[in-house]
């Protein structure tokens, strides 16, 4: 406790003013002349007591105002000791990655961090998972290990983001998993004002088995059977057999012993029978469980569905090529139908024909269509197709010179090499996915309402171009079909902590592994992605009633509990600013807290109270004075 301007305390002497007003002046105040005091008796004690009761409140308030103002101008302050030993700010970083779920790693890390917090007095906490999250010290107790992948490289940027100019002492509580180290040591670099104290919570490599992956088809069409390949891996383990079991919708449907070589990998195939129509929740697990039980199971989903019809409207020649390509894949999820019937389709193909009126309405409601035109055509909500004729003679054709290879339809398409385009219809105003050498878009994309449209600026009949005769045609048709039907979008398996994208503007409802809504109603309308942070199944209900089941598993790099080399860790610890000597005396950081704003506020409150109380006393006193004056006037005194 101290004063920045102590000489202002002399103003406290002004408290003598209310003292004089209330005590000294009072004794001489308002004598009342009276005819005779013959019948009166002095009752000094009671009257003085009564007077004190009345006036001391006012006196106290007035004195308090003066004292508070004098104190406020003297600018009192007090100091608290903060931060850490050596006058540094302390940051407690806790690894919350999936590997910290092993045994008692997380409780050990938290108790060590709490002990450090008690020692330091004040600290900030960083939860180090896939990303680093800065939290206040009280949140330390509530920290839990997550299913996320840890990366020690996140620590440096997180500490730099704190923006401290003072020296920072980082205490990192982690299992220092080898797999958490970045590829480059340079990525571990810390800010220059930071020193690192490593606080390992795991001292030895612990053997761990894990289900590394389960490969199963995302969808089966027609059949109720699916084949799944389960890979089991041992990290630092002896050669041992593990029992692998397959659960289908919480029922055990298959299982057997699988010998796993020392620190090796083994795989086993299972046929899963009895798949139900719709979404099936599947799980591969190994037994017996080890100390990191979470990676002993692996979630995957299989959807069983009937092949979906695709409507082809247009020339029969093109239909032949398209059907051949579409149904070329084994267990194709599509069946091509020709005609103009209105109904429910995976998507609609309109090739060199006028689209029926219902097609665009169907697209607007969330459907999809592929328009293939080599001649002039006007398509509502899409635009006009303007024909360009190159000719079949000599070199009068065009080839594709640019493609958006990141688009799902053209992934690995390699510019459709050798494909010649003789007749092309240019569709303006759409997003081009592929262009010819003269810049004419030959494949474009557009969104119409909730649906999507692919515009192929040529025909599918093998005359306007020779694409159907090339090997690039089949993958193009299959990928276009998957894209238009929506089957190609979903990645049924995700790593914990990854973002799942949603279609902007299209409402989607997400249920987390506990069956709770992950997004509020408002978020469901506007969210473009969600964070799949936990292991389990996320159910996604998209517009149009489409449902998807996304299986989320922790990154299996977290299953490798091998500890990073001591040399590397020592080098990292020494790369920061030199740490304060552990045995040296603690130098407390003093933080100054000013009290004058509070004193001013109290003085104002006292002034308001004084005005209120004072407005009552003068009334009584004034009346008394008036009485005395009237008496004196009458008496001629």
């Amino acid at each position: 406790m101290g004063f920045a301007a102590p000489w202002f305390l002399a103003a406290a002497a002004a408290v003598a003013l209310p003292l004089w007003l209330h005590l000294l002046r009072r004794s001489r105040s308002s004598p009342r002349p009276f005819a005779s005091v013959m019948f009166w008796e002095a009752r000094t004690e009671s009257s003085v007591r009564q007077r004190r009761l009345q006036f001391y409140l006012l006196f106290t308030l007035r004195s308090a105002i003066i004292l508070l103002l004098a104190l406020a101008f003297a600018q009192p302050y007090f100091e608290t000791t903060g931060a850490a030993a050596g006058g540094r700010k302390v940051v407690l970083a806790l690894d919350v990655s999936a590997s910290m779920r092993e045994g008692g790693r997380m409780p050990r890390a938290k108790s060590a961090a709490l002990a450090e917090l008690k020692k330091a007095g004040e600290a900030r906490v960083i939860a180090l998972g896939r990303t680093a999250v800065v939290q206040p010290a009280p949140a330390l107790q509530a920290l839990k290990a997550t299913a996320e992948t840890g990366s020690l490289a996140e620590l440096g940027p997180a500490v730099a983001a704190l923006g401290d100019k003072e020296p920072v002492e980082i205490h990192l509580f982690s299992d220092f998993q080898k797999s958490a180290l970045p590829a480059s040591f340079d990525d571990l670099r810390l800010p220059e004002n930071a020193s690192l104290v490593l606080q390992p919570v795991a001292n030895s490599n612990i053997p761990n088995w894990a289900v590394e992956r389960a490969d199963a088809p995302a969808r089966v069409f027609g059949s109720d059977t699916a084949r799944v390949t389960v890979a089991v891996r041992g990290y630092g383990t002896p050669a041992e057999s593990r029992r692998v079991s397959i659960m289908l919708n919480a029922k055990l449907v298959a299982g057997r012993e699988v010998p796993v070589p020392s620190s090796g990998r083994a795989s086993a195939e299972f046929d899963i029978h009895g798949l139900a129509y719709g979404l099936n929740r599947c799980e591969a697990r190994i037994e017996p469980a080890d100390s990191l039980a979470q990676d002993d199971r692996y979630y995957f989903s299989i959807e069983r569905a009937e092949p979906r019809p695709v409507l082809y409207i247009g020339d029969h020649r093109g239909a032949v090529y398209f059907r051949a390509a579409l149904e070329s894949a084994a267990a194709s999820p599509f069946r091509l139908r020709e005609g103009r019937d209105e109904g429910s389709y995976a998507f609609v193909v309109v090739a060199d024909a006028a689209p029926p009126a219902w097609v665009m309405e169907y697209v607007r409601r969330g459907g999809a269509a592929l328009f293939a035109y080599a001649g002039r055509r006007r398509v509502d909500s899409v635009g006009d197709f303007e024909p360009l004729y190159y000719g079949r003679e000599g070199d009068r054709f065009q080839t594709v010179s640019w493609m958006d290879r990141l688009h799902p339809v053209l992934r690995d398409a390699n510019l459709w090499q050798g494909v010649r385009f003789y007749r092309v219809a240019r569709a303006g105003g759409l997003r081009a996915l592929a262009r010819l050498a003269d810049g004419t878009p030959v494949l474009s994309e557009a969104r119409v309402g909730a649906g999507r449209v692919l515009a192929f600026g040529s025909a599918l009949d093998g005359i306007a171009n020779d694409l159907p005769l090339h090997k690039a045609f089949v993958p193009f048709v299959l990928r276009a079909a998957a894209y238009l039907s929506g089957m190609g979008e979903a990645t049924p398996q995700r790593v914990a902590g990854s973002q799942v994208e949603l279609t902007p503007g299209v409402p989607a409802e997400v249920l987390d592994p506990h069956g709770q809504r992950l997004l509020s109603l408002e978020q469901a309308q506007t969210a473009t992605s969600f964070d799949a942070a936990e292991e389990g199944f996320y159910e996604l209900r998209r517009a149009g009633g489409r449902r998807e089941l996304i299986a989320v598993n922790a990154d299996r790099r977290e299953s490798d509990l091998a500890i990073a080399p001591h040399e590397t860790l020592d080098l990292w610890a020494k790369s920061g600013a030199p740490a304060a000597p552990a045995s040296g005396p603690a130098r407390n950081t003093r933080q100054r807290h000013d009290l004058w704003p509070w004193l001013i506020a109290l003085a104002i409150a006292a002034a308001v109270a004084e005005a209120f109380v004072g407005s009552r006393y003068p009334g009584a006193r004034h009346a008394q004075t008036l009485e005395a004056e009237a008496t004196a006037k009458g008496a001629g005194v």
Binding site: S36, A42, R51, A628, G634
Partner: protein
């Protein structure tokens, strides 16, 4: 009511001339008496008396003489001469008053009215103004100009020092040659025995004594909201008092004082009238007339 209104001391306070005050009071009082047959008045016809040599010819009833050719003097009751001496306490305590009129002013009005009434009945009237000394003495007389002297004496009466009843009464006894009436107007801040002991010799010598005890309403029932420092107007002594005391004990004490004074006066054959100064003057005048009638 109109006449009574002129007896209100607050109304009289607006009149500057003391004689006019007295005339107003008495006229109003007499007008009120016409409705009240309980009291006679000296101007009422009493008897006829045969003229004898030496009688004043002004009192001959010439109408009777015209009818009977005999001279008769018309006599009125009031013509039974007596004398009134108003003894006015002008001590400092008489200056106290909580309203428009303090006790001394009220006492002046009362004394002036009594003197005016006495003169009106052809009684001799005199005045003694005293505190601890005799400050002014107007010898009782019924002569022309006496009323003016009385009024002048009353107007000169100002608050003086402490009250001492012994001196003025000794003085009064030394000048008393005729039995008559003495009206003592005071606040009687003294022990009742002392007051009566001083006044009693007068009564024993045949003088009808009336004690007019004037007290302000604030003296009878003081209203204190807060503790106060009271200063005695005679002694200058200050005393800090509480509202509780004023509410209970003081009222009991002043009540006991007036009761003791009334009792002692009655035992000594002295009339006693307690008059709060916010009351009209007619009570005092009635008392005077009652006592005078008793003397006739």
């Amino acid at each position: 009511m109109t006449q009574l209104r002129y007896l209100d001391p607050n109304v009289l306070a607006g009149i500057s001339s003391l004689e006019l005050v007295a005339r107003t009071v008495v006229d109003g009082f007499i007008a009120g008496l016409h409705r009240s047959p309980d009291f006679g008045f000296s101007q009422e016809f009493a008897e006829y008396r045969a003229y004898s040599p030496g009688d004043d010819l002004r009192y001959v009833d010439w109408n009777v003489f015209a009818r009977t050719e005999r001279a008769y003097l018309k006599r009125y009751r009031g013509e039974t001469n007596t004398q009134l001496t108003a003894m006015l306490d002008a001590s400092a305590s008489m200056a106290f008053g909580s309203g428009q009129v303090n006790k001394l002013e009220y006492a002046r009005y009362l004394a002036a009215s009594l003197c005016f009434l006495a003169q009106h009945q052809r009684d001799a009237a005199g005045l003694i103004v005293f505190d601890d000394e005799v400050r002014n003495y107007v010898h009782p007389s019924g002569r022309q100009g006496q009323l003016a002297r009385l009024m002048h004496g009353l107007e000169r009466a100002t608050p003086g020092a402490r009250t001492n009843y012994a001196k003025p009464f000794e003085h009064f006894l030394s000048f008393l040659h005729r039995r008559g009436m003495a009206a003592v107007i005071s606040d009687f801040y003294a022990a009742p025995d002392e007051v009566i002991r001083t006044v009693e010799p007068l009564a024993r010598r045949g003088t009808e004594v009336i004690l007019f005890h004037l007290l302000d309403r604030e003296e009878l029932a003081p209203a204190l909201r807060d503790p106060a420092l009271l200063v005695d107007m005679e002694t200058g002594e200050g005393i800090e008092v509480s509202p509780d005391f004023a509410r209970r004990e003081y009222r009991e004490r002043i009540g006991a004082h007036t009761a003791a004074l009334r009792q002692a006066a009655a035992e000594a054959g002295i009339d006693y009238v307690l008059i709060p100064t916010d009351k009209p003057l007619d009570d005092a005048l009635r008392e005077y007339l009652a006592v005078r009638q008793r003397r006739l």
